[in-house]
């Protein structure tokens, strides 16, 4: 997996590079918007970009990419504090936003989530605990053994595993299956939980009354800043 890191602060760029390399990513560094444009001649799986760069705003670069139909997921780093600034970044086409100063652990978690979400046509393999899910083939395995699963259960599990460690609202989960009564979602989730438990899965789908559901992931970084 190749990642482009656009950061003019050399020390920080170096630390990010080290960390990501340790986790098995291929890292390319760029110290300015101009340099990033050059490097972007080749494709990347994801881009991590600072906002304030010596020759411009990282957001403008993202807008440029999006205008050129380049959908590479972008994680913006920035020192801007207020939520408006974060939203400005997301509106400009960035996929996620990590305010400085951040933890390298969180950076990695966000990057993982970003890559997970943007499966693209080739699909991704999602993993939580001893459960793995192949989005391309629609197969679920617990400890390497395939678990048979209905279409509704599979789509629910996919949504929850894509956002493992985050609470997914009822609205989002119901979006995939508009049919069914008031309790259709609860019934499907009950079946999913039972199916996973019967096959020895060690993940927990927790209910937060009035808010939504989530796969409790002890290792996932909290999405909140």
């Amino acid at each position: 997996m190749k990642i482009l890191v656009i950061e003019d602060e050399k020390a920080l760029a170096g630390l990010i590079e080290q960390t990501l390399q340790k986790s098995g990513y291929g890292v390319t560094l760029a110290g300015s918007v101009a340099e990033a444009r050059e490097k972007l001649a080749q494709p990347f799986e994801a881009i991590i970009s600072d906002r304030r760069l010596p020759d411009g705003d990282g957001l403008d670069l993202v807008a440029e990419l999006r205008a050129a139909n380049n959908a590479t997921p972008v994680l913006m780093l920035t020192a801007m504090g207020l939520p408006q600034e974060r939203v400005k970044g997301l509106d400009a086409g960035a996929d996620d936003y990590l305010p400085k100063p951040f933890s390298l652990y969180e950076l990695q978690a966000r990057l993982r989530a970003l890559l997970r979400r943007s499966g693209g046509p080739q699909g991704v393999k999602l993993a939580s605990g001893n459960v793995t899910l192949d989005t391309l083939h629609g197969t679920v395995q617990v400890d390497g053994k395939t678990v048979p699963m209905g279409k509704r259960e599979l789509s629910l599990l996919t949504e929850l595993m894509r956002r493992a460690g985050q609470v997914v609202s009822k609205d989002v989960l119901e979006h995939g299956a508009p049919s069914g009564g008031r309790n259709a979602l609860e019934v499907a989730l009950h079946r999913l939980r039972k199916n996973l438990a019967d096959h020895g899965a060690d993940i927990e789908i927790a209910t937060v009354r009035g808010v939504g559901y989530w796969i409790v992931d002890e290792n996932a970084a909290p999405a909140a800043q």
């Binding site: 602060e9 990010i16 504090g81 207020l82 305010p99 937060v208 800043q225």
Partner: protein
């Protein structure tokens, strides 16, 4: 009140006008009396002159009157009011109009001034004033004195009544006229002061979030104009100083972020060593503080736009973000909301920030295994209840000021920077809402955010 310009002016002017009014009435009355007296004197003089023209010295050299018949009839008639007595100044009567005249003129038969008015008793005991005049008459047998009198008649009484009427008339015009003067003065003063009231409202509206505001000098009385200009000058200076100060803290916070990020990243990428986790915790605390400083500085510099927002949805989103954080600290989050949407006027991102800060705060202060309860009220409130140590009643007002931290709480809850609640309070102030904290039954505290309902 005693410093009210309007009140002072009205009282003083009222006093002056009352004095003027009394003076005018007195002068008017006096003039009327004087005119009456003078007329009376003239009549007495004419009466005396007429009588003296009929004076004769008879054979025994005594003075006597030979009065034409029609005049004599008047003097004989007791009801005519005209009387005279001629005497020698020692009480001896030489001549008189009729016997009663002596009694009527008794006070005028000794030393009497030129002319006077006396209250005497009539023959039937009724009060009957009389005007009298004394004229010396030299005769061969010595000095005689003619005392003439005119009893007060019905005409005099009518005249006096007319005088009183005139005074009353004068007052009837004077009092409303002076009242009108007072009201006019009061109104014009009050009107001239109205721009001052507007000015104070304007000054009140100036705060740290809009120090660039200036007072409008339009319609302000020219006497007050220099004050307005001076205040505007002061405001401009303060605004510049404040902007510089805010810019400095924003810049400082901003500049601190990158080195701090590097420090944190370095620590995280190092192999574990003794004390690394403590150092990391310290750096994270500094990070938090710097982030909040920047947020606060930006918040003070922005004006916010309010729009209709479903409070339940907003809080639900914040809950979804905060639940994993709570889970990491073994704090459960519970959410309660009415079925109906609760529409409030809010800037959604900032309102979410306020809710998030309070939930974060509650999680930080909750003991492990306890729940933080978030409830939405139909009146546009968000309640966040924790089972932490609670806020002592004496500190409840102060916790929303900058850099407050409860005594002895630093050790236990080192992660707080002291700016989180100040940010919440500032966000709520900008929303025209408020934040308050109360004790929770059974221990802990309840923070309540109150927003304005949409359409109110």
């Amino acid at each position: 009140m005693e410093h009210s310009l309007l009140l002072r002016l009205v009282i003083r002017l009222g006093l002056v006008l009352a004095l003027v009014c009394a003076g005018l009435v007195w002068l008017f009355n006096n003039t009327l009396d004087e005119v009456g007296d003078r007329a009376q004197d003239e009549m007495l003089r004419r009466q005396a002159a007429e009588l003296l023209s009929y004076l004769q010295i008879d054979r025994d050299r005594e003075a006597s009157f030979t009065v034409p018949r029609d005049v004599a009839r008047v003097y004989r008639d007791r009801d005519s009011g005209y009387v005279f007595v001629l005497h020698d100044g020692q009480g001896n009567i030489v001549a008189r109009s009729h016997p009663l005249a002596v009694a009527m003129l008794r006070p005028g038969l000794v030393a009497v001034p030129q002319s006077t008015y006396l209250d005497t008793r009539d023959t039937d005991g009724k009060a009957a004033g009389i005007y009298m005049l004394v004229r010396p008459v030299p005769t061969p047998r010595g000095m005689r004195y003619l005392t003439v009198g005119q009893a007060r008649t019905i005409d005099d009484v009518l005249m006096e009544a007319a005088g009183r009427d005139a005074t009353r008339h004068l007052l009837m015009w004077l009092v409303p006229a002076f009242g009108l003067v007072l009201v006019t003065v009061g109104m014009s003063v009050s009107e001239s002061l109205r721009p001052l009231r507007r000015l104070s409202a304007e000054v009140k509206a100036v705060g740290p979030h809009n120090p660039e505001r200036q007072l409008t000098a339009a319609q302000v009385p020219s006497e007050v104009q220099p004050l307005v200009e001076a205040v505007n000058g002061l405001l401009a200076q303060l605004s510049q100083a404040l902007a510089a100060q805010q810019q400095l803290s924003a810049d400082t916070a901003h500049q601190l972020k990158t080195p701090l990020a590097i420090m944190q990243a370095r620590l995280e990428s190092l192999k574990s060593f003794n004390g690394r986790d403590d150092l990391l915790a310290d750096v994270r605390r500094m990070n938090r503080l710097v982030t909040q400083m920047l947020q606060y500085a930006q918040l003070m510099q922005t004006d916010i736009d309010l729009e209709p927002v479903n409070l339940t949805e907003l809080a639900r989103e914040v809950m979804a973000r905060m639940i994993p954080l709570g889970h990491g600290r073994k704090v459960k989050l519970a959410f309660e909301a009415p079925e109906l949407p609760v529409m409030v006027k809010a800037a959604p991102l900032l309102a979410a920030e306020a809710i998030q800060n309070l939930i974060d705060n509650a999680i930080q202060h909750s003991p492990a295994g306890k729940a933080v309860e978030v409830a939405i009220g139909l009146d546009g409130t968000v309640e966040i209840a924790d089972k932490g140590p609670g806020v002592p009643a004496t500190e409840r007002d102060r916790i929303f000021s900058r850099f407050w931290q409860g005594e002895g709480r630093n050790e236990k809850y080192g992660s707080g920077s002291g700016l989180g609640l100040a940010i919440v309070a500032e966000i709520m102030r900008q929303h025209g809402g408020k934040v308050k904290v109360a004790e929770r039954k059974g221990g802990g505290s309840v923070f309540t955010l109150s927003f304005c309902l949409n359409g109110r």
